[in-house]
Symmetry: C2
Subunit: 319 residues, 2 copies
């Protein structure tokens, strides 16, 4: 019986699983926070610890696994096993041989994939996208990632398709953390929203966002912090979320106008946290921009939730 | 020997050809202006006259053709043979049975396709896109149309993919002729640019655009009028073209970020008229928005020029 390890390396969290190949069931899982300093070495240590924990829960030894897949943010060279320009990770600009580094620690073959691609692949194969001929996955979290599936399979382009977060929704608009102007992510990415909230507080605006963050002993404005602030009807939070929703509406509608997919799935830390009511708001925000507004694409939540990325990473070992 | 008729019905011009099936050579061609009043009936008359002229040049009778294909702007229902919401044509909102109307006049089977899709298909099969695995065609003319080819074949989505002109480049931006805000076409479509030029003139701005139009005995600001105005360094024309170039840069870069295609082709009335130097300007305008700016997609002109649409329409009869 084949068993695989799956690691979802996010800008905020690390999620690991041990998956049975036969039925794609999860035998064990673990989760930890992504270290915000120490560069690749610190991240590798955290990944090893987190997968060990999942293996412990599954009662297997890591070295007995038939492979480990990693979904990573930034520029993945799957052939070379390197990750570069992971702007949401600590000190991770130049290509780092992540597959080799982990393989040495695990004594198992390690495959790399793009975090968002693998999560989209998991939704297509095992989740809300099953049976869809064409699909756009939007992961609304620390950044805004996307995956495109056409004719029932993931579209990679020359290797880097799916960057919906860096579609331009406003020429000459807000500066994105990627350095470009007017990207969707500049309005809707959790990190960009946090930077904007800080900027507004410095300008004298009032908000409970950072108070809630401290109450919850977090170091960033997590999706839970945003949710709580919305619950309290915090004006600045309401305004920044509305701004994000409008940007998502424009960006996702643009992608739909170009590709006319039958299904759009929403996931990611914020997308999953806010759930159905937010889907409806995003659908409303898309409407004025949809070219075929009489037959909008279906908009649904992802099904695999927090495990999607790790499942998709484990699936890398099967292909 | 099979021969086919091909009709490219544009918002400004009608182009017809008679094509030999065997080698896709053009045996005869004709061109006329699209009537701006009289609704579908007037357009049908103009199409009949124009294809008759091409048939005359090819020395064949229309009724001897093995089929006629029509590339039309707006919502094409290929099954039903109807065209609806052709906003660039006279009085053409509700579905009109264009295939049946033409078939009756020609006594030949008529197939409908989307004007931009068929032109993109022609470029992929016979033009600058030959051999490309993934391709985005951008037709910059009266409107801004697009065609997407992935894995070597055209991507239709649920039937209406390719609406790059209605991707949002500026949230809350200029009103498009489609009624939506901030579309690429609102900045770069020839008709939208003409409307903006008129608006600026009414506000007291100075330009030679309309003088040149009258000199050339045109009723609209044709691509030739814009080219002449640029040659004369007309300030308002320079400014509106720069605005269009920036919007094209953002919109095309957004599409490339999503799909990571290997090739972008630029065609259409304005695209073809301005040629290479304009391609370079658009490439420059894309650069600041490209997520993978170290490996930009190749940007090249279409090869089939004014005949691409009619060739693609004729190709509809072969499939």
């Amino acid at each position: 019986m084949a068993t695989f390890g799956g690691i979802d390396l996010g800008g905020t969290k690390i999620q690991t699983i041990v998956m049975r190949g036969e039925d794609h069931s999860v035998l064990g899982q673990a989760r930890s926070l992504t270290p915000h300093e120490g560069g690749p070495a610190a991240v590798v240590d955290a990944l090893v610890a987190c997968l060990s924990e999942a293996a412990g829960a599954a009662k297997v030894e890591i070295k007995e696994l038939d492979g480990v897949g990693v979904g990573a943010p930034g520029e993945v060279d799957a052939q070379a096993g390197t990750l570069a320009r992971a702007t949401n990770l600590s000190e991770w600009e130049r290509p780092y041989p992540l597959a080799a580094a982990l393989s040495e620690r695990f004594d198992v073959k390690v495959r790399l994939g793009n975090d968002v691609s693998v999560a989209a692949h998991a939704e297509l194969l095992l989740g809300a996208g099953q049976g869809a001929k064409s699909l756009l996955c939007v992961f609304w979290g620390t950044g805004v990632g996307g995956g495109v599936a056409l004719d029932g399979k993931l579209w990679h382009g020359r290797g880097d398709a799916g960057e919906i977060g860096h579609m331009v929704v406003k020429q000459g608009g807000a500066r994105c953390l990627c350095g470009r102007d007017g990207c969707l992510e500049a309005y809707a990415g959790r990190r960009a929203m946090e930077a904007e909230a800080k900027r507004l507080v410095e300008k004298g605006h009032d908000t409970d966002l950072f108070k809630i963050m401290r109450e919850r002993q977090r170091h960033t404005l997590s999706s839970g912090v945003w949710a709580k602030a919305l619950e309290r009807e915090d004006k600045l939070a309401v305004r920044l979320i509305e701004r994000a929703v409008q940007a998502l509406g424009s960006g996702v509608a643009s992608a739909v106008n170009l590709l006319d997919v039958e299904l759009v799935l929403l996931g990611g830390g914020l997308g999953t946290r806010f759930g159905e009511p937010m889907l409806e708001r995003i659908a409303e925000a898309m409407k004025p921009h949809l070219y075929n507004d009489d037959k909008p694409s279906a908009l649904r939540p992802v099904e695999l939730g927090d495990l999607g990325g790790a499942l998709g990473a484990a699936l890398l070992c099967e292909s």
